[in-house]
């Protein structure tokens, strides 16, 4: 990488900010305008992040309600209140909304949008208009998918397997696919924006290996998005072409190959699981460093493993197709590569654990969500190996075992990390503290509810319970009821933050600029940040996560062996020359 950061465009050097030393030189981005217009047409990445936050949360509620309906339906082996048709539409709605409209955009579009410019010391993303466009594309795609859901629904599952989706399903396949297709462009726009911003707009002194790991994770994610999303977009178009115009691609009756669809679909959708987890891993690195008061152990390995995952992730799609009729030798290669791709993830977990060694750990809510993440992601990742291993996958694929696996990684992993991040940066985003005690309780409830919901699914999967089954053999009822009970507990754990975070907007303690004494650039500016982020272009002179002197002083403080050291509000390193 020859483009060194020193060459990056310094932003913020305009006269109206550089002359002022006070941080309150500009109103916060939240008070920069109160009209609806000032929100809906904003080009400020922070405001766009808020638009995303609100919309994505709404989709999370929709997906969650669908999940709840499915779980209630499964209390009894013959269903409780739905017909087959409704049941099939319900789990499809759940999958489509959660994957395409919640998990894929959640961390990048909300936290990434808000934080990437702040963390690299820039005033905004490289292309603010593209950023706004990405939001509206997302919104349009989402609304289209919801329209499809209320005007008949879709019953293909989120995977849209052919030839069911191209010929046999009489539901709103085309409209839903159009929704996912449009949302794909939103992802691509965000990905391009991140890549360009990270390449070109880093503050002076912010070299690649001084970047926070959150940035590395988003960089790797963006590469996957930009390379992978066009493939799924074309694939979905082909489905529509066959469905509407009967152009033979996938249906053997028109001379097509139904298994081809699975290759194309998973070529994107396997990397897509990393689109969901890599940003989550970025969050974990930030939070754990802050609350352990330690530099992240093996920084280069954690950063590099993100890239390794991005590359290897494109080579393992066939592990979703071990029983589809793909050749035995292809299966072996894909299995082998899947075992390899697990290593970079494991390396991250080990490095996070080692970060705590000789740290100074506090147990605030974000940190508890990090423990949640590690505990759940370990099991999720390791059960991936049961499915990467050929002989066991033959038995376990298409069963609840797979369902449990991916919920452990995506819900246990990605959503715990999302919560960790949301709590961690909540004071920065809103200028208010969330209520600490109840947030900690939430993390604990979430952890328990999660296991109760999904551990039984491993058991029933192994015993042969197929997924996407409306009616099921009575012997599985106990396990299904346990799972539904767990889902109820989880529902509480998801409802609580909605209530207390909204509550905190008005009644929460006012947050200081840096309530956690964190070192990132985003913490060196007021909470909530002014519209233009930085009064002066920050100049970076050291490595990230410069926490250890804090650990020292804080512990001496606690010991009472030395008078309290004034907490540095500004990392001197981050405020070098300029102006």
């Amino acid at each position: 990488m020859s483009a060194h950061s020193e060459a990056g465009t310094p932003v913020g050097a305009s006269p109206e900010t550089s002359a002022v030393s006070s941080h309150r030189s500009e109103p916060s981005y939240l008070s920069a305008g109160h009209t609806l217009r000032s929100w809906l047409f904003t080009l400020d990445h922070k405001r766009i992040a808020i638009l995303y936050l609100i919309t994505i949360s709404a989709f999370f509620v929709v997906g969650g309600l669908a999940a709840g309906a499915v779980r209630v339906e499964l209390i009894s082996p013959r269903g409780t209140f739905m017909s087959n048709e409704v049941y099939n539409r319900m789990f499809t709605l759940h999958g489509v909304v959660m994957i395409f409209f919640f998990l894929i955009p959640a961390i990048p579009a909300i936290l990434g949008n808000f934080l990437v410019p702040l963390m690299v010391g820039a005033r905004d993303l490289a292309f603010p208009r593209l950023n706004l466009l990405s939001y509206y594309l997302y919104l349009a795609g989402g609304l289209l998918a919801l329209t499809a859901a209320v005007t008949g629904g879709v019953d293909t599952g989120w995977t849209f397997y052919t030839p069911y989706s191209t010929f046999y399903s009489s539901s709103q396949v085309t409209m839903t696919i159009a929704g996912a297709f449009i949302a794909g462009f939103s992802s691509i726009a965000t990905g391009i924006n991140f890549i360009v911003t990270i390449h070109k707009m880093r503050a002076p002194g912010l070299t690649w290996f001084r970047l926070p790991l959150f940035i590395w994770a988003h960089y790797a994610t963006s590469i996957i998005i930009v390379l992978g999303t066009p493939v799924v977009a074309i694939t979905l178009l082909l489905v529509v072409a066959e469905r509407v115009f009967h152009i033979g691609v996938f249906d053997p009756r028109y001379g097509g190959d139904p298994v081809l669809f699975q290759h194309l679909f998973w070529f994107y959708s396997h990397p897509a699981v990393y689109i969901m987890i890599l940003p989550a891993m970025g969050v974990i690195s930030e939070v754990i460093a802050c609350f352990a008061r330690k530099r992240v152990f093996g920084y280069h390995f954690v950063a590099g493993s993100s890239l390794a995952i991005a590359v290897l992730g494109f080579l393992v799609w066939g592990h979703h197709m071990f029983v589809s009729g793909q050749s035995m030798y292809a299966g072996m290669v894909f299995s082998f590569l899947s075992f390899l791709v697990a290593i970079p993830s494991a390396v991250k977990v080990f490095n996070w654990t080692a970060t705590i060694y000789k740290g100074s750990v506090s147990f605030d809510a974000p940190m508890l969500f990090v423990f949640c993440f590690i505990g759940l992601f370990l099991i999720g990742g390791l059960t991936g190996l049961f499915l990467a291993s050929l002989a066991t996958d033959v038995h376990l694929t298409h069963t609840y075992f797979v369902v449990a696996h991916f919920h452990y990684v995506m819900v246990g992993g990605a959503i715990s990390a999302y919560f960790a991040g949301l709590h961690f940066w909540w004071p920065k985003i809103t200028g208010r503290m969330y209520p600490e005690v109840i947030a900690r309780i939430t993390a604990v409830i979430l952890f328990m509810g999660f296991h109760l919901t999904f551990l039984p699914q491993f058991l029933m999967g192994f015993a042969g319970m197929p997924r996407r089954y409306h009616y099921y053999p009575p012997e599985f009822q106990t396990l299904h009821v346990m799972s539904t009970a767990g889902a109820t507990v989880m529902a509480i754990a998801y409802l609580l933050p909605v209530i207390y975070l909204v509550w905190s907007l008005k009644y929460g303690r006012v947050a200081s600029a840096n309530p956690w004494n964190a070192t990132g650039l985003e913490w060196q500016i007021p909470s909530p940040p002014p519209t233009h982020n930085f009064d002066e272009v920050p100049v970076v002179t050291g490595e990230p996560y410069d926490y250890e002197h804090l650990a020292l002083s804080e512990n001496e403080e606690a010991d009472g062996t030395r008078a309290a050291v004034p907490r540095p509000q500004l990392d001197p390193a981050a405020r070098g020359g300029a102006a």
Binding site: Y164, A354, K358, L385, T392
Partner: protein, 327 residues
């Protein structure tokens, strides 16, 4: 009622699949507990305010990184190798296997035994015999899954897929369609009944007589069809039939099944069920070397069942008549 946690081990693969499965659980639980224990221990020991030695913190160590990448990798690759080896055995059916044909359609399984006995949503098989299923779907993708045997394979339209196993315990086991196939996906299930060999023979006899019409063996039905569709006018073994000039006929089909066919362009393919099916339904996809592409396509004119009958008949041709010589 089946056990909802420990499924019956009723095939020759089951024990070994379970061994790998439990090994993986041991590794999963071991690793998770280890990491969580270390994490909690460190977090407690180095909790803020605790008076511990925090001097000389470490920030990176290549040896440690290598250690915790390579050790899990080696363990993982051992599991991979074992599992892949077992998988290879599950994919290659032995030659002596008893053949049964399976047709999946929404939302029902249809099985065809060699003697023509047909069952719906039920499969009767003898214990301790290798069973090979040749499967095809009439519509969408289904998946044939018998948890007690630890086997499963997708059943795809347009091409045959194969599955084999050796039941080791008599009993009744659940059969599922495990690939989502639409409205009544979860009702596309059934039972596999594994019987003692004598009981199975009796069952097959009785079932054959019970069906009020005299059951015709699959291959016999195929022969009737072969004549009816006049395949013989081009593929007759004594090639003087009809008015079609020799140059426009196809070759003899004797000994075709299982042989290596040389195609136009020099490629060779093995004449398995999938090849035979394609030759009948889409003859122009692969042209036999030395012949013209004049065979009509029978796609749409034959049901999957009829294709299976024709194939069963063509397969017998290799056995009863001398193998075809060089043409």
């Amino acid at each position: 009622m089946n056990n909802p946690v420990f499924p019956e081990q009723a095939s020759s693969f089951a024990v070994e699949v379970d061994a790998i499965y439990y090994l993986l659980w041991a590794l999963t639980i071991g690793f998770s507990l280890l990491v969580m224990a270390v994490l909690i221990f460190l977090a407690y020991r180095y909790r803020r305010g605790a008076r511990v030695d925090r001097s000389k913190p470490v920030h990176s160590d290549l040896r440690v990184e290598l250690l915790w990448s390579v050790v899990p990798l080696i363990i993982g690759l051992c599991v991979f190798a074992w599992s892949a080896h077992l998988y290879a055995r599950t994919r290659i059916p032995p030659d002596d296997a008893m053949e049964i044909y399976v047709i999946g359609k929404r939302w029902m399984w249809q099985m065809q035994h060699g003697n023509g006995v047909r069952e719906n949503a039920e499969l009767h098989i003898p214990v301790n015999r290798n069973i090979k299923l040749t499967m095809i779907s009439q519509d969408v993708i289904h998946s044939f899954y018998v948890p007690a045997f630890r086997v499963k394979h997708d059943v795809v339209p347009g091409t045959y897929t194969r599955l084999w196993f050796r039941p080791t315990k008599t009993g009744r086991y659940r059969l599922y369609c495990s690939q989502y196939c639409g409205t009544q996906h979860s009702q596309m299930d059934g039972w596999v009944t594994v019987m003692e060999p004598e009981a199975f023979e009796r069952w097959l006899e009785a079932e054959g007589n019970e069906a009020n019409v005299k059951t015709v063996g699959l291959a016999d039905a195929g022969k009737q069809l072969f004549d009816q569709m006049a395949c013989g006018s081009c593929h007759g073994s004594n090639a003087q039939t009809g008015s079609i000039p020799a140059a426009q006929r196809g070759g003899s089909l004797n000994g075709l099944y299982g042989s290596l066919v040389k195609l136009k362009g020099g490629r060779q393919v093995k004449a398995d069920e999938a090849y035979l099916r394609e030759s009948i339904m889409r003859p122009n996809e692969k042209i036999v070397d030395g012949y013209w592409a004049i065979m009509p396509s029978y796609e749409g004119q034959l049901t999957e069942e009829q294709v299976l009958q024709l194939i069963a008949y063509i397969k017998t041709l290799g056995k009863s008549e001398p193998p075809r010589g060089g043409q």
